[in-house]
Symmetry: C2
């Protein structure tokens, strides 16, 4: 062991009481604390058990790219890269790539970074995220996607319970309860249920707001003991162009979200696999087909019904462990004010 000074603050199990900003300023030291190590042990099991479950189910692992060309979906919340004398961007989602690779390998998954340039300094915003992505062909309906995602979450929770019991005890955490068949409601049904049980009338709104999500989860928990609930069938025009519209009621789509303890854990759904319908959506969504030419080409020559889902490793870690701030679940969190250390001239972060 090389020569060393004593640590500059109390690192004992009970005595440790740094505020988060100081904890992050001294990440190189605070990572030695057993409670912080426990968080990242749980995160490594979440990521690894996702990959394991995917492989057990014949999903093929590919490496989704980080650098992307001019973004098709556009948006201000994308980071620009000076790419030699040209412009490139950091990916916001491997969505189009995983659909492309699915057309060749049928079932695919990826664990890779996505980047969000949201200028928000909240407890839930970081700019660099580990995204766990799955996509599968030859589905009968969006229910196959829901079932695969449910079994994935179930597997992850079981693995965390089995492999991290000392860590869960140290962090004083109880895992959420996932029952045999997770309750599933359409957005319209969920809004009706909220109205019936709480008297608050959110029927006809385009989405659930955070209060709706909490109310719905409370209702489901009381009635079924499930901490989880699926909500599907969002207004088609509120969601990305590739989400499959319900053939019987095309105003609503076959996208689905998994909520747990009042917040979203995972998003997914069936995608459009018909080339003509896809091109119609590209036009309706006012997108430039040339900017997604490679994606569109994949669908031109025949693709089976397909869908997939995705979730963020940091957010799931935060939610499984009931942490208050996503930065606690991120080893080296980046936000608008911090990359390792606070950026010069940065506001104090949340």
């Amino acid at each position: 062991m090389a020569q060393a000074e004593p640590l500059p603050f109390d690192m004992s199990l009970e005595g440790y009481n740094l505020d988060l900003a100081t904890e992050l300023d001294h990440r190189a030291l605070t990572l030695r604390h057993p409670k912080l190590q426990a968080i990242f042990k749980v995160q490594s099991v979440i990521i690894d058990s996702f990959r394991e479950f995917m492989k057990k189910n014949d999903f093929f692992e590919f490496q989704a790219p980080s650098i992307t060309p001019a973004t098709a979906e556009g948006g201000a919340e994308v980071f620009q890269v000076n790419y030699f004398d040209k412009k490139a961007y950091l990916t916001q989602s491997p969505q189009l790539y995983k659909q492309i690779v699915m057309t060749a390998f049928e079932r695919v998954f990826s664990v890779n970074k996505v980047f969000r340039a949201e200028p928000s300094a909240t407890t839930r915003h970081i700019t660099e995220i580990v995204s766990l992505d799955a996509e599968m062909g030859f589905i009968d309906s969006w229910l196959d996607v829901r079932d695969m995602s449910e079994n994935t979450v179930r597997y992850i929770l079981n693995e965390v319970a089995e492999k991290c019991s000392p860590e869960l005890k140290l962090l004083n955490t109880t895992l959420p309860t996932i029952i045999d068949k997770t309750p599933t409601y359409s957005l319209t049904e969920a809004q009706e249920l909220i109205f019936q049980k709480s008297g608050r009338d959110v029927r006809g709104e385009k989405d659930l707001n955070p209060e709706d999500e909490r109310t719905l989860c409370d209702i489901i928990k009381k009635e079924t003991d499930s901490d989880f609930v699926y909500v599907y069938g969002y207004p088609t025009r509120q969601k990305p162009f590739y989400v499959f519209p319900n053939p019987e009621n095309p105003e609503f789509n076959e996208g689905v979200d998994l909520l747990c303890r009042g917040v979203e854990w995972l998003s997914g759904g069936r995608r459009i696999n018909d080339y003509v319908q896809l091109c119609e959506h590209v036009e309706k969504w006012n997108m430039d087909p040339n900017a997604i030419a490679m994606f569109l080409e994949a669908f031109k020559y025949g693709v089976p019904p397909e869908g997939g889902f995705a979730f963020g490793a940091e957010r799931m870690t935060m939610q499984i462990l009931d942490l208050k701030n996503i930065r606690e679940a991120t080893m080296f969190p980046r936000d608008m004010n911090r990359i390792d250390m606070l950026l010069s001239g940065a506001e104090k972060e949340v």
Copy 2:
């Protein structure tokens, strides 16, 4: 299956003969070809068996960040990101992060992207790379790092042989031979050997050039049947500040490279673990200690002797399969002229 047109070129096993640029222009379709699928199957086994071997040896998986603050090592070959109203950079290596995390978890590994803004359009340059990184504490000497890296490569080759035999047959490839104890020479010894056997005098040069690497590998293959050879002990000042200098001869370091069939496969070595020595190197290398304050803090409070190694997934795939161009071993290769499609105004790529 949605309606579909016939594919626009011959995708049969024997008839497929697209040039690489066309193959990449139509990646969404050419990925359906069995030979291309075989390449990425082998790559997924390389990556997965790296992780497996690491876990078997009690290495902890962490997620190395992609966005970094002002780079300590500097260099023109780094991509700049417009980070809100500030500047950030894409990581060139997780080196300093893996050393930080090693100080907390003893043995760590990471599979993450690194980015190289080299304005070179050769068959071996891409800008976005999957880097497989390992770092381990409590070593006795750099030989422990060599041994761990050798066993990692051996494990990967065995897994590829076992799990990819149809793919290797389809690609008509023979795996390189790794013998029980891979021959290991200091740079000086290797130069002497090249002089003795080939008559070409490269003694005293600061590094092996590509011709030296080929000559050395040929000599070793003839004498031992090993396709692999380790070369260690490079001039200290030619290498990064963190590489450990040989205590008996500090002009040379304890860095080590693994060569195979004439090219480098993997780099590693022992690192400096003493804080005072590290600070001296930072000064000698003319670096700004404030730019690596978090890294230096990790070493201020005591770190055991340590070292590690790294290799690129695409390059190892290319070399295992004897491919001619690294783009063949990259599902969505990025280079100075291409991000998915050729960039507007780009020169023709190699």
